[in-house]
């Protein structure tokens, strides 16, 4: 599959758009269907597509397995830290209203932080599973 010029060209053109769509689904998830989980999955498909067409080794030059492990952990840590910050600011765990006086702004910030955490974990986690499966020969 790695020598097919059609696939390579199409995938190379489509990749940035798929990736961007993943982040669109995240940031637009408040209004349209979607959110961190769906966005992360779409971003992971983009990277997996790259690995399928160009080979996992090429993909790991951009996102090494170590980097993906770090990203996955950072995502989960963002989520946990959001809860801890709300505790530190006098609320309950994951009570976003403790962030600001304006409850709508506080909800926005809290939901966004949490969703970004989910996005990073799902993206890195799913890609990691594929890269690990792909190196079994």
């Amino acid at each position: 599959m790695q020598s097919n010029i059609l696939l390579r060209t199409i995938v190379a053109t489509l990749l940035p758009f798929i990736f961007m769509f993943g982040w669109y689904v995240l940031f637009h998830g408040k209004v349209s269907p979607g959110g961190g989980f769906q966005g992360g999955a779409i971003c992971a498909t983009a990277l997996i597509l790259h690995a399928l067409i160009f080979g996992p080794k090429k993909t790991e030059q951009v996102f090494s397995q170590y980097a993906l492990r770090v990203i996955a952990c950072i995502g989960a840590m963002i989520y946990v830290a959001t809860g801890l910050v709300s505790v530190a600011m006098g609320g309950k765990y994951l009570e976003y209203n403790a962030f600001f006086q304006d409850s709508h702004l506080a909800q926005f910030v809290g939901v966004m932080a949490v969703e970004i955490g989910v996005q990073l974990t799902v993206f890195a986690g799913l890609t990691l599973i594929f890269l690990k499966l792909a190196e079994q020969d």
Partner: protein
């Protein structure tokens, strides 16, 4: 004289029936095919058609997840797994009558509960009169997030989503731990 609206309704009902029929056929194909790659293709179609059905039930969030996770990513995971396992199903199928008896009994039990289920879209059903009513009515005033699904997932039910995220993390790291890494193999050789 058939009005345009009722004609549209009939077409919608028929296409939904066709989708359900495809789902059932494809599910049967997944089970009965002895070739793992064919099973996998059936499974991918199953997920894709399920995504359409979720969309018809006004659940676009679930549909996106099903299309991305079910149809795309899990298919690729299975593909990668089949590559190292082999394409043919090798274990012979024994005790098929015992299995049929158990599955048949279970199916009958499940079917018997259908009688007590509320009608599809019933506004008096427990699912629509419980806490979901207050979410739908109050979530926009409380959070200013138009998509109720997002506000419920990330705000009201933040603990559950935290658990979900940690499950994904745990799944990824278990795969990393279980499967041998490239370095260890080269050391062994």
């Amino acid at each position: 004289m058939l009005s345009l609206e009722s004609f549209g309704n009939i077409v919608e009902e028929l296409s939904l029936c066709a989708l359900w029929l495809i789902v059932i056929c494809v599910a049967a194909g997944t089970i009965f095919s002895r070739h793992l790659l064919k099973s996998l293709a059936y499974l991918a179609i199953f997920s894709l058609v399920s995504a359409c059905l979720y969309l018809s039930m006004q659940a676009p969030d679930v549909a996106i997840t099903e299309a991305a996770i079910g149809a795309a990513i899990s298919t690729i995971f299975f593909l990668a797994a089949i590559r190292s396992v082999g394409e043919k199903e090798e274990t012979p199928r024994k005790h098929i009558f015992v299995a049929l008896l158990i599955v048949g009994g279970f199916t009958l039990t499940m079917l018997s509960t259908i009688v007590d289920m509320p009608a599809y879209g019933d506004k008096n059903s427990p699912a629509n009169t419980g806490s979901s009513k207050s979410y739908v009515e109050e979530s926009y005033q409380q959070t200013a997030i138009p998509n109720v699904v997002t506000s419920v997932l990330a705000s009201y039910r933040g603990f559950d989503t935290l658990g979900e995220t940690l499950v994904i993390l745990a799944a990824a790291f278990s795969v990393l731990l279980i499967l041998p890494s490239r370095k260890e193999e080269s050391d062994a050789v």
